[in-house]
């Protein structure tokens, strides 16, 4: 049994977009996307005391190795980082192409994702990766169990819950309500340094520079602008008459 967990190295603190490149500024300190910690935790929970291998897979700058080490400290066994100057600026499509290639090499029984990236607010990558790998996909999983090469997931949607079964191998994106991620123990942190971490280039994956980065992307950022302002905001202190003030405000706008 092999479980691959896709993780993202995201900027620490408030993210900003570099006005020059129009890309997210990734020059500062980074951290593990917190939603991916739920996916790592779920892999660890499934493994339990068994002998499954958990490999974390990421695409990002060389500094993402630190983030992968955090995943190893939590208990993952091995890390694969696709890092190449040519991957910077990859859009969803290019990212899914690169990750799918890296995952193909692993041939994992289960591929896990967190529910979203905390920086780009993206919450769709798994479906593109599953399509490229020709695997079934389940997202927003609140509960996940495996038995006899079949997964069973409880998925939350706008109308309630679906219980979905799919044959392995499969791709699952877990909800952040699925578990409480553990903190890495001191032993885990010390041990992480000795665990294997591979760094792969695009060429290692059989991809060329046109497959990733700007050249491999099918979307582009054209311009940045300030958001439209919410004009005329008022703030009042309740002096006993606030209820009347609200009624007047609503009546003025024909809301009551």
């Amino acid at each position: 049994m092999k479980i691959a967990v896709c993780v993202k190295h995201v900027p620490e603190g408030p993210a900003r977009i570099d006005p020059g490149s129009k890309r997210l500024d990734r020059s500062g300190e980074g951290m593990l996307n917190r939603f991916d910690a739920n996916a790592i935790e779920e892999a660890l929970r499934i493994k339990g005391d068994g002998d499954a291998e958990i490999v974390v897979v990421s695409m990002g700058p060389a500094s993402a190795a630190d983030t992968l080490r955090k995943a190893l400290a939590m208990g993952a066994d091995r890390a694969v980082l696709v890092s190449d100057d040519a991957v910077a600026g990859s859009d969803l499509l290019a990212t899914s192409r690169v990750l799918a290639k890296a995952l193909e090499r692993e041939a994992a029984d289960l591929v896990l994702f967190g529910q979203q990236a905390s920086d780009g607010d993206g919450a769709v990558l798994w479906a593109a990766v599953a399509e490229r790998l020709h695997l079934p996909v389940v997202s927003q999983a609140l509960e996940l169990t495996l038995a006899d090469a079949t997964l069973r997931a409880k998925r939350q949607n706008e109308f309630g819950y679906d219980v979905i079964e799919a044959p392995l191998p499969a791709v699952v994106a877990v909800s952040d309500a699925i578990n409480e991620p553990r903190y890495a123990s001191l032993k885990g942190i010390m041990g992480a340094k000795k665990k294997p971490q591979d760094v792969l280039s695009l060429a290692d994956l059989g991809l060329g520079p046109d497959d990733a980065g700007d050249a491999g992307s099918r979307t582009e950022v054209l311009a940045l602008a300030a958001p439209p302002a919410r004009g005329g905001a008022q703030k009042i202190e309740d002096d006993g008459n606030a209820a009347q003030a609200i009624v007047d405000f609503l009546a003025e706008r024909r809301l009551i």
Binding site: A123, E131, L135, E158, Y161, L250
Partner: protein
């Protein structure tokens, strides 16, 4: 030029968000506005789609499509795009639609821009408007592929009937990919809520931790009743078991855009903000003068919800019965 819209439906009705996106598609001035309906009995919804501006409706009308799974829908859309050459494919965000859009992007090697709040034509080129980094910046995004795939933030557009006539209806015969039929829904638990659903309500009164106790949700319910609205809740109070998940608004709950949003004892954390920020008018009552909710409220009241809300409910009720 031509545009295609994925129309999600539930309980025999087209979803408001999807109809909003169809309204937007029809407003782009393209001669061919296609809509795709997938599921058992969807043919009966085709005329509805026409009334919101669809000129051509493609139906994959088969009960085997009833389970709300994305991958068979990717097969249907890929077939329609392949057969008819649609240049832009539009989706209203939902758990299902996001997975369909991303799967279709990978299948067709097409660019996907998501979380769009608008789509405009600039010098004949379609440009998406995407609020990013907690809406601190608006990003103009473009496509370098045909088709362009656009996934819109829920509540971006009002659904408006165009008075269009009956559309051309065409059956889609599609052979499903092997990997598209792997996942099966083996059980469904639908949460039927009472009162107006929060996605469709014009007025929402939402409560957060600042209500102090689960019993205080009565304040929100009474005000909602007076205003003719629905009750919403933050994730914190849903997690604490004060209110059902079906009322949760925010990143992991529902995204709403009512005409009036009244926030009671809600601090305005990002998790909540993203689910309600496109409301037309936001009124917030919170004891903490520094609560972030005041930064994006049209009217902020620094005060105790237990003092202000009962009076407000009474005044609104008096006014309505006057």
């Amino acid at each position: 030029m031509s545009v295609l819209v994925f129309l999600e439906h539930h309980g025999g009705e087209l979803q408001k968000g999807a109809l909003g996106v169809l309204t937007k598609a029809a407003s782009l001035g393209e001669a061919d506005v296609g809509a795709v309906l997938v599921g058992g009995g969807v043919r009966s919804l085709a005329d509805d789609a026409g009334s919101y501006g669809a000129t051509n409706v493609y139906v994959a009308d088969d009960a085997s499509f009833d389970p709300p799974l994305p991958q068979s829908r990717v097969d249907v859309l890929a077939k329609v795009v392949g057969d008819h050459g649609y240049e832009t494919v539009m989706f209203a965000n939902s758990v299902l639609a996001a997975d369909v859009a991303a799967g279709l992007a990978a299948r067709l090697d097409a660019g996907l821009n998501w979380d769009l709040a608008d789509l405009v034509s600039e010098n004949g080129t379609l440009v998406g408007k995407r609020p990013a980094l907690q809406d601190s910046v608006y990003v103009d995004v473009g496509w370098r592929s045909t088709p362009r795939i656009a996934l819109f933030r829920a509540g971006s557009f009002d659904a408006v009937q165009t008075g269009g006539g009956a559309p051309q209806v065409e059956d889609v015969a599609v052979e499903l990919e092997a990997h598209s039929t792997g996942a099966k829904v083996v059980d469904q638990q639908l949460e039927e809520s009472t009162g107006p659903s929060i996605e469709d309500a014009d007025v929402i009164v939402a409560g957060g931790r600042g209500l102090g106790a689960p019993e205080s949700f009565a304040l929100a319910e009474e005000l909602a009743r007076a205003l003719g609205g629905a009750v919403g809740a933050t994730r914190a109070v849903v997690d604490a078991g004060w209110y059902p998940y079906s009322a949760q608004i925010g990143q992991t709950g529902k995204t709403v855009s009512p005409k009036l949003y009244v926030a009671l004892g809600i601090s305005g954390a990002i998790q909540h903000k993203v689910g309600m920020q496109s409301s037309s008018v936001i009124v917030a009552i919170n004891r903490d003068a520094n609560a972030p909710i005041f930064e994006f409220s049209d009217l902020g009241v620094v005060g105790d919800v237990h003092e202000v809300v009962p009076k407000l409910t009474e005044l609104v009720t008096q006014r309505k019965s006057a």
